[in-house]
């Protein structure tokens, strides 16, 4: 069965620090990859997604993620975090068809100190 691992449960950073959140998945075939964010009291929303092509994808609010197929990884990065980035971040994978549910990691809570 597919699974998604997020290595960090809770990350605490100061403003302007760089961020990298790890995500590894277990499926060996073609995959679609996603990062979702849940700000306090808000819905889950999509940060970025990878289907094919350039393995470095850029999302909203200055986030980016790199798909490394050989490492089964899709780490999320941001060069300089802001207090408003405080949220929970979820990595998700779908096998490379066009339908079907997402498999989510357990999430990483990011706290940014002003």
């Amino acid at each position: 069965a597919q699974s998604v691992s997020q290595h960090n449960h809770h990350v605490i950073l100061s403003e302007a620090a760089s961020l990298e959140l790890g995500c590894n998945y277990s499926y060996g075939g073609t995959v679609n990859l996603f990062w979702y964010v849940q700000y306090p009291g808000q819905h889950l929303q999509l940060l970025l997604k990878y289907f094919s092509g350039d393995p470095l994808v850029k999302g909203i609010k200055g986030f980016e993620a790199e798909f490394i197929k050989s490492k089964f990884s899709f780490n999320l990065r941001k060069p300089s975090v802001q207090w408003s980035d405080t949220a929970e971040y979820f990595c998700a994978v779908n096998h490379g068809g066009s339908q079907g549910n997402l498999i989510f990691g357990k999430g990483t809570k990011l706290s940014v100190k002003p």
Binding site: H43, F51, S98, Q99
Partner: protein
């Protein structure tokens, strides 16, 4: 509507009672999903509806859980004889998947927080 809506936003029930949770997807979205978010467990897939096809029920944890989608729009998730371990936030999502082309984004609702006493 503008987004996925769910009701109620909070539900407190006693162990053994049945509960119904409702989801209104974005108008025109053919695919609808239910997930469960338990503390420290991330999001767990429950069931998936796509158009008029038979639903994918592979994520339902037990036969106490069932869901239906009437008229290809509104969906109801029913949990019978609730147990304390059913306490979680139940999230609904919809997307405009048609089975062709690239994977389409799932839009999530605000969730229903279920507490079983």
């Amino acid at each position: 509507g503008a987004g996925v809506s769910q009701s109620p936003s909070n539900k407190v029930t006693e162990k053994g009672k049945d509960v119904e949770l409702r989801c209104d997807p974005i108008s025109g979205h053919t695919a609808l999903y239910w997930y469960r978010q338990s503390l420290g467990q991330g999001l767990e897939f429950l069931i998936y509806f796509q158009g008029n096809s038979a639903p994918d029920k592979s994520g339902l944890p037990s036969d106490r859980f069932s869901a239906e989608r009437t008229g290809g729009s509104v969906s109801t998730l029913t949990i019978q004889r609730t147990q304390q371990e059913d306490s979680a936030v139940y999230l609904c999502a919809s997307s405009s998947q048609t089975g062709l082309g690239p994977y389409n984004e799932q839009f999530f609702g605000p969730g229903t927080r279920l507490t079983v006493l």
